[in-house]
């Protein structure tokens, strides 16, 4: 019976529902589904959990990690330091073991002895002969490989006290319809559980305790939520070009459409998904469909969005509704295709040449991904302009706990100002770009509506109020000014920021998107040090007046964002005329989600000792 290797008497403080477990695997080895099962089991035990995939741009062979944070406090951001490393990848085992916190644990496959240089005196080792167990128990080579992953999940169940029935129920759910697979999977779980129970003192000081904190919650990734939101938002045309990390948006749309959008009588499709030849064609199709009255979208990421710039300018200037989901990844160029960043703020806010501005929405949870996706079609139709929903890889491709999704059955789509045949008959002089209502939004017509009224020529070249070509500079300027007015009207239709403020606080935080996951933890940490801050989470661009007021109301605001060049801060400077001295950037751009520790450190560093005392007394 192998001893728990404890070469030292490092004291491990017991941690209940508050630790980080990281899995280091080889890409393509089948670890993803077992690791997902591990995280979901914790969720089903009612404990807040947040898994983060850190994966390579590769099909097979390169290292991949899956980091799971467990937190009773509902801290769903990343936390630095690993309490338990499941070290399954020989290529990275040295750095993986080095990343374990002092007093932490390293689980490894002991079918081969661990090299001496990997022995640390300040951590505990959990040797399990995974390969040998699977060789003895399973015949097929593929099973011998795949079930190693299931065996370590079974072992973890004993080690950290996962409810075993939760795991076996999940296996049954997962393989419903493929019953032959259920028993061997459960057997593999039992093998791991048994080995750990017999060889280690279970549970470890890292322990799970059932809670009921996830009762009304769901565990979902942002891209799935967007795909579903597009179904609910009435999208009928999805044209796209495959690009990580946006691909699963269209996959989800397609999947839910096949389930929910087939005509019950004929079985025919009330949707169309077109895989385009490139991103130019993808957005071109969406714009063509939007022009002709269908709700249409495309989903992409940095390189694709760069290609779409010309078309975004056309849709802006000719005023055609279209929705683009940009699931941001690390740029510039190919960058790090499988890592996260908020690096496309500026390129999207002013996408395309000439004077342009685009509507941006910033979801921060899967629930918001669903809601903003559905809303984006109303906003695009109402304002007759592109709407870009800026998510990122972190939100798009990782499962995250959020409130369950709801849809108000009383709600109806806002198709904006579209004239039908009857309305056209009553109008004497229709002009496509006439600002009849004074809100900067003209009236559109769909092709084929009326026999002799309402037709017009859509163009990206300069046009007058009747859509006729013009090179008259004053006429051009009038149209451009009217579009500016439309973007003021836009503020009535796009979500306002979420502000939490108190008149006594001198400092504030501004952030958006996935940075949100680290904010509550940051505030709690600072609160313990006597530092209180106001917060403003931005949900949309252009900015409402309250954004400028929030900055002006504080001596200093920290602008937290995940890019190198402080793009959000630049936008605030340009759009709110905000004072440079009033803003301090907190930046993270290493491709993984920003942590509360990073934010806290920067804020603490920015305070002089006297300021700290002042804050504390305030």
């Amino acid at each position: 019976m192998p001893e728990l290797v404890t070469t030292t008497k490092v004291n491990t403080l017991p941690k209940t529902n508050d630790f980080v477990i990281k899995f280091a695997n080889v890409n393509g080895s089948g670890s993803a589904s077992s690791n997902n099962m591990f995280a979901k089991a914790i969720f089903r035990m009612g404990i807040p959990v947040s898994p983060h995939n850190i994966f390579p741009s590769n099909i097979q062979g390169l290292p991949t990690w899956y980091e799971v944070r467990v937190s009773d406090n509902n801290y769903l951001g990343r936390r630095e330091g690993v309490d338990l490393m499941v070290a399954m990848n020989e290529q990275t085992i040295e750095s993986d073991i080095n990343s374990v916190v002092s007093g932490g644990f390293a689980l490894y496959d002991s079918s081969k002895p661990l090299s001496d240089k990997l022995i640390r005196s300040d951590i505990h080792y959990l040797p399990i002969p995974l390969k040998d167990i699977c060789l003895a128990e399973f015949e097929k080579p593929s099973q011998r490989q795949l079930f190693k992953n299931i065996v370590y999940v079974g072992a973890l169940a004993a080690l950290i006290n996962i409810d075993f029935k939760v795991l076996t129920d999940m296996v049954s759910d997962q393989f419903r319809g493929k019953e032959k697979l259920i028993l061997p999977n459960i057997h593999a779980l039992e093998l791991g559980h048994q080995y750990a129970s017999e060889n280690f003192k279970c549970p470890l000081p890292l322990e799970l305790e059932k809670r009921n904190l996830t009762l009304d919650k769901i565990l979902m990734d942002g891209n799935t939520a967007i795909g579903l939101g597009c179904v609910y938002g009435g999208a009928t045309v999805a044209s796209w070009y495959p690009l990580t990390p946006s691909t699963s948006v269209v996959d989800a749309f397609d999947k839910y459409c096949k389930r929910l959008r087939r005509d019950p009588g004929s079985g025919k499709n009330k949707f169309s998904v077109v895989q385009a030849e490139d991103e130019l064609a993808a957005i071109g199709m969406a714009i063509g469909a939007g022009w002709n009255g269908a709700r249409a979208f495309t989903a992409s990421s940095g390189p694709g969005v760069s290609l779409m710039q010309e078309f975004l300018g056309l849709a802006y200037f000719s005023e055609v509704p279209v929705v683009l989901f940009n699931i941001q990844r690390v740029g510039p160029s190919t960058g790090m295709p499988t890592r996260t960043q908020q690096g496309d703020l500026l390129t999207c806010a002013y996408a395309s040449h000439g004077d342009t501005k685009q509507i941006l929405l910033f979801p921060s949870t899967p629930k918001e991904c669903f809601e903003f996706a559905a809303d984006s079609f109303d906003i695009a139709d109402r304002l007759q302009t592109p709407v870009i929903v800026l998510s990122d890889l972190e939100l798009g491709m990782n499962e995250q706990i959020c409130d369950h999704l709801d849809w108000d059955d009383q709600r109806r789509y806002d198709r904006g100002k579209v004239l039908n045949e009857e309305q056209l008959s009553e109008i004497e002089n229709y002009g496509r770009y006439q600002d009849v209502d004074g809100d900067g939004i003209p009236y559109r017509t769909y092709p084929g509506t009326h026999a002799n009224k309402g037709s017009y020529f859509t163009r990206g070249s300069s046009h007058d109020v009747n859509a006729a070509y013009t090179e008259n500079g004053d006429t051009y300027a009038e149209i451009m000014d009217r579009i500016s007015l439309k973007f003021k009207t836009a503020l009535d239709y796009i979500p306002k920021p979420e502000i939490s403020s108190s008149s006594t606080h001198k400092r504030g935080l501004i952030y958006l998107g996935t940075t949100t996951s680290a904010i509550q933890e940051t505030l709690d940490k600072l609160q313990k040090k006597g530092i209180s801050l106001d917060t403003m989470r931005l949900k949309a661009f252009p900015f409402h007046d309250c954004v400028r007021e929030f900055i002006n109301d504080h001596e200093l605001v920290y602008v937290i964002e995940q890019n190198r060049d402080a793009q959000l801060k630049s936008l605030l400077k340009i759009e709110c005329n905000a004072n440079e001295e009033q803003m301090l950037s907190i930046l993270s751009y290493n491709g993984v989600l920003i942590t509360a520790q990073q934010i806290e450190h920067t804020i603490l560093d920015s305070l002089s000792p006297s300021e700290r005392t002042e804050e504390e007394s305030a």
Partner: protein, 351 residues
């Protein structure tokens, strides 16, 4: 060229068609192209074709890219919606528009720069997708708006007015379209209305992707004796498959053709194309034969024109996508939104 408004006067004796429209109802704004431009003859042919076949103007959508050719949609069917989009990207916009409403006629107008250079990729893919539309390339072998550079359809050795000689082999849009699966491929000449009008009518009626490559000389930059896209060369080396007539479905009863004098092709709606003379012995349903025919004439410095290829048995894009009969832009909230009850079921799958 002119930028004055077109006078609204029309002769009281102008003939009306079955819908009660005159030719004027199918016109567009005054052209701003150069006097004598082949493209204006294409506009005129479309106007006459649509008027004769009593097409409802508002049930047509005209879509183009950028360039001289892409201005053409302004000059015909002003009662139709038009979309002058992005250089080389008309195919994607037309695809999206067609997806949104399958129940309109779509006319895509492009040029050789637009479709054979910057937009060659999109051209290939719209052909593959079999969008139900008429796609016309006004082909002059040159870039007019930027003052006469050679385009990718310029034949090897062809010379522009500036004396630039094409050093590269040309892209033949007709053979390319046939290779890629277009189900109606024709070539014509802007100067041959007799041929072009029935081809446009047949292309508009054909169910599936109909392509017409129209040699349309650029009088300003590419109409020299050494240009293969000029009037002189086109007239001298023009090989037609002979007279072609298009008889719309409802006219069939009143028109009679002597049996055995021509070849008849009946389109899906009952309209008939009559091919006379050389066309009578040509088999336009044979893909390889069509390509061989075009290439053989090309070798002799000739331009093969007429209805080169037709295949009526392929499915169009909507059939492949199995879409509902109602157009997407007419689907109601209740057609589209699955409602909260379904959403609550979906929530359970994420528990």
């Amino acid at each position: 060229m002119s930028y004055i408004r077109k006078p609204k006067f029309q002769h009281p004796d102008l003939q009306t068609n079955d819908l009660g429209f005159t030719r004027r109802d199918y016109e567009g704004t005054l052209t701003t192209l150069c006097g004598g431009c082949g493209h204006d003859s294409i506009s005129a042919a479309i106007i006459q074709a649509a008027a004769e076949m009593s097409l409802e103007p508002h049930r047509v959508a005209k879509i183009s890219g950028i360039g001289c050719s892409s201005k053409i949609p302004s000059y015909f069917l002003s009662k139709s919606h038009g979309f002058n989009s992005v250089h080389g990207r008309m195919p994607s916009v037309a695809t999206g528009a067609n997806l949104a409403n399958k129940n309109l006629h779509y006319v895509g107008i492009s040029g050789d720069g637009d479709s054979a250079s910057i937009g060659l990729g999109q051209f290939c893919h719209i052909v593959r997708r079999r969008i139900n539309m008429l796609y016309i390339v006004a082909n002059n072998g040159t870039y007019g708006l930027t003052k006469g550079q050679l385009s990718a359809t310029a034949d090897l050795g062809s010379k522009t007015k500036a004396g630039d000689e094409s050093l590269y082999d040309n892209i033949d849009m007709a053979t390319l379209a046939i290779e890629l699966g277009a189900s109606f491929v024709a070539r014509s000449f802007s100067g041959d209305k007799q041929q072009l009008i029935p081809l446009i009518q047949a292309g508009l009626t054909h169910k599936g992707f109909a392509f017409i490559d129209v040699v349309s000389p650029c009088v300003t930059f590419n109409n020299t004796d050494f240009s293969t896209h000029g009037y002189k060369n086109t007239w001298e080396n023009y090989v037609s498959l002979g007279q072609i007539d298009f008889v719309p479905m409802q006219k069939e009863i009143t028109t009679s053709y002597a049996a055995g004098k021509d070849k008849e092709i009946t389109l899906h709606d009952g309209s008939v194309i009559h091919l006379h003379k050389a066309g009578k012995n040509y088999d336009p349903s044979n893909k390889e034969n069509a390509i061989h025919h075009i290439n053989t004439h090309k070798k002799n410095g000739e331009i093969a024109t007429g209805l080169l290829y037709i295949n009526q048995s392929t499915s169009d894009f909507h059939e492949l996508q199995d879409t509902v009969d109602k157009s997407f832009n007419e689907l109601s909230f209740h057609d589209l939104c699955p409602g909260n009850e379904s959403l609550q079921d979906i929530n359970h799958t994420f528990k």
